[in-house]
């Protein structure tokens, strides 16, 4: 639409031309120019490719043991060396991204969906609903993830689904809190009163009227939570409640090899640790970039 299409008798404001771009277009535009975001995205893409296709291009089978070559230091034929069973550490690090990159994002998505629905409900109804549910959520947030995981595993047994559900549900209250505060601001706007004046139901008002306007804070919170979810998955795997052997998962590898550091076999742990660190940093850079793009 150009200003010239509007009927006579209506002076338009002389909005600068940037206003012609849609709000999402503007966000994408500023993301494309954000070094932080692009660096993070590059790291994420690298690990995503490793997770998807790593199996095809790694030099060795990450599960094949070669006892004779056990604990070989990094060298030309084994870039990152081998572990105590003689498995190639490089191949294991590359392929080890697969499980964590399935479990952590799924857990985050679960947390986002549950948290958004909860946040919309408590923010929209306020009063007693808010008071009761918010206190319950706060109590829930006070319990460490590890304890919840322990209980869940006792009840459900260890599996990836358990890990997803545990992390997803323990992050949901945090997202619910963010959504709630955004909804509280949003529901004071007149379009919500206008919806009431059409006798719209609560579900319509929450999900059709309010939800689209609180997407930006949800997106920011989701990317931040993804970083924490990766960390949580690695931690659970490390203490044995997460991903189970024989997966070459990073947390799991560190857990089974960290006893070797004392013997000078640092390569069995260092590269897995660096992998976790780089993935978390990558996600945080993306989160920073997204936050910046929405709050400029």
């Amino acid at each position: 639409m150009s200003a010239a299409d509007t009927p006579v008798g209506m002076p338009a404001s002389s909005a600068p031309d940037t206003a012609q771009r849609s709000p999402w277009g503007e966000v994408l535009h500023s993301l494309a120019r954000s070094g932080t975001f692009l660096t993070g995205l590059f790291i994420l893409l690298f690990w995503a490719i490793c997770a998807l296709f790593g199996q095809c291009f790694v030099p060795y089978d990450p599960l094949a043991s070669d006892i004779i070559n056990a604990l070989a230091p990094p060298a030309a034929d084994h870039w990152f060396g081998t572990d105590q069973l003689g498995r190639d550490v490089f191949s294991r690090v590359i392929v080890g991204s697969r499980d964590i990159l399935t479990v952590a994002p799924l857990a985050t998505i679960l947390a986002t969906i549950a948290g958004t629905a909860l946040g919309l409900v408590i923010g929209y109804f306020r009063n007693i609903v808010d008071d009761v549910i918010s206190r319950v959520l706060e109590a829930f947030m006070a319990i460490p993830v590890v304890i919840i995981a322990l209980l869940a595993i006792v009840a459900l047994g260890t599996s990836k689904v358990t890990v997803i559900v545990v992390i997803g549900l323990s992050f949901a209250p945090i997202i619910a809190r963010t959504v709630r505060s955004a909804v509280l601001a949003e529901r004071e706007l007149d379009y919500v009163a206008a919806a009431k004046l059409r006798h719209e139901g609560a579900v319509h008002t929450m999900f059709i009227e309010i939800l689209p306007n609180v997407i930006p804070p949800i997106l920011v919170e989701t990317t931040v939570r993804l970083g924490y979810a990766i960390f949580a998955v690695a931690t659970l795997s490390f203490i044995g409640f997460g991903i189970q052997p024989p997966s070459p998962d990073w947390g799991l590898s560190i857990s089974s090899n960290y006893g070797m550091i004392g013997g000078g076999f640092w390569w069995t742990v260092l590269f897995d640790a660096l992998a976790i660190a780089s993935l978390v940093i990558g996600v945080n850079l993306v989160a920073d970039g997204v936050h910046g793009a929405f709050n400029d």
Binding site: S13, P23, R198
Partner: protein
Amino acid sequence: MTEPRQAANALELKDLSVAYRVGRRNRAVLRNVNLTIKAGEAYGLVGESGCGKSTVALSVVRYMPRNGSITGGSIALDGKDVMKLDGEALRRARADSVSMVYQDPGKALNPSLRIARQLTEIFELAGVTGQAAEDKAIAMLNRVRISDPVSVMQRYPHQLSGGMQQRVAIAMALANDPSMLILDEPTTGLDATVEAEVLDLIGQLRRELSASILFISHNLAVVSHMCDRVGVLYAGMLVEEGSTRDVFNDPRHPYTVALLRCLPRGGQRKDQGRLDTIPGFLPGIGANIVGCAFADRCALATERCRSEPPPLYELGDGRLSRCHYHDKAQSLPRATPADVPAVAPTQAPPVLQVKGLNKTYGSHGHPLRAVKDVSVSLRPGETLGLVGESGSGKTTFARLLLGLVPPDEGGSIELEGKQLAPRLASRSEDQVKAVQIVFQNPDSALNRSHSIRHILSRALKRLGGLTGKTLDTRLEELVHSVRLTDHHLAVKPRQLSGGLKQRVAIARAFAGDPRIVVCDEPTSALDVSVQAAILNLLADLQSKQDVSYIFISHDLGVVRYLSDKIAVLYLGRIMEFGPSEAVFSGPHHPYTEALLSAVPKLDRTESSRIRLDGEIPSAANPPTGCAFHTRCPRKIGAICKTQEPELTEAQSGHTIRCHIPYAELARLQSLERTLEVKNDQSKKRRSQGLGGQKLDHATKLDATLS
């Protein structure tokens, strides 16, 4: 530059051009602006939003947004070339010789510092510290007529009312005794009564100080009240300049002519004709302008206007006009026909009858009576105007009608003879669609995530009960009835201008053929030309659909234009209720009288006599007796303090809540009107005697009255 010239001109802009860099292109915002403000002069800059007024203010101190740059011309402040100042010198110039007062004092003051700290800071910059700085700060507050400055010094900005905050902001601006004071919309957003006080203050300070004033406002009447000379800005160009009296009474540029016609003046009413509008749009910033910038919107434009840019013609007496046909400017034909269909006065039974409506909020354990015992009635096709300062209960009353908040037990609201449930949820579908609202701020009222098509279709579906083909047909009709086109359906609200958004909001309210539409300050965020178009639209819709309006506005001219009845509210109570003409022509309640006298008028004939002291009291702790007695200029004695007057009928249908009998009010008010006329004559004589020098209205009046 010679010394005397420096003394003569406080500010001199020569061929000033400013551009904003948007999307890798420099877009011109100001185009060769020439402007001179003499020492001690008050210069007004007017124009619609987006024409570059604030950019002028910012470039004077070279305080541009990051993407802004001065692309040409020169700025001389007190004879010093601002463009040549280096960082430190520029900082000194900003600190010593220029001060600015912004529109929103709440944002201009630091919320986490006490007033004392913020004021003494300025003196510390000038080298005065400790007790001396504090004494100076208190003196400054005294100067801006703040009572009890010592206690104000210890407060935080949020503990002061809007008017007080703006006084503090003015005190801060005057602290360094600037030679140039820039006021950017200093009273927009303040109540009319507070605005009048602040304007009086600025007027009085002008005489005490030597400062020249650059006064920026979209409100022509305020500028006319405050300024000696006025410049009209259009698309970054000065299109007309001259003495205020000349420009407003005898405009020589079609744009000025058109702007002035957009205002409802001289008590014009909807049944006496539509307001004129300005067709088309302000050119966007950076637009390539061939010929006259206003040509596209000007009915007088000829081929010459479109091809040859008009120079600033000198018309003598310091008057300038950028129009080839400045001598014919006033023959500009109307853009909107004035004629209105004759409407026979209705005798139909009332569509709305409100009896004894109350609303009490609980505030920290104290009851806060936002609306107290309000009764009104309204016939189909009529408009009820609600006026009063902010905090008088106008919006709460509207929300009670809509059912958004439930009233206290006891009162009743009847729509077409049927009782309306207090809560929206328990009203029937028909009742819900019968009472709708147009909100003040369309940005808040329209869901920014939805397209206009979605917004209006949903309203038609829910309120009109339509689906499928019939919905589409009705949608098209609805869109055309508010003079939008099909192109507008696909876009989101942010892609529309304020006026267009307000049209969408009006269309939504009319989707279910309402009986009553509440208009809560629907034009207060709009430019005058857009306001005129919206008012015309509301009047047209009303005469076509026989709908009734509850019209809330601060602008009494606008209320008068649209309303058939007026209710004046004060602290939730109706102080006066009656037919619009009776309320406006008087005799009126002392509060109404004060409200009316607070409104600055374009023709500068007003009296500044009645000023209300201080702010509206808190509804949590209303005064005893007559709620208005604490500020009433006509208080008659103890009875006002002890006994609340009844709403008594003065004439048929016209009721006033005052202890002073109607005949006495009539006598008092007509007496002062005669005084005023005499005053006006003596004023003229005196100003001639002083060689044309203008004196401040308020002083002269004070002198004559005392």
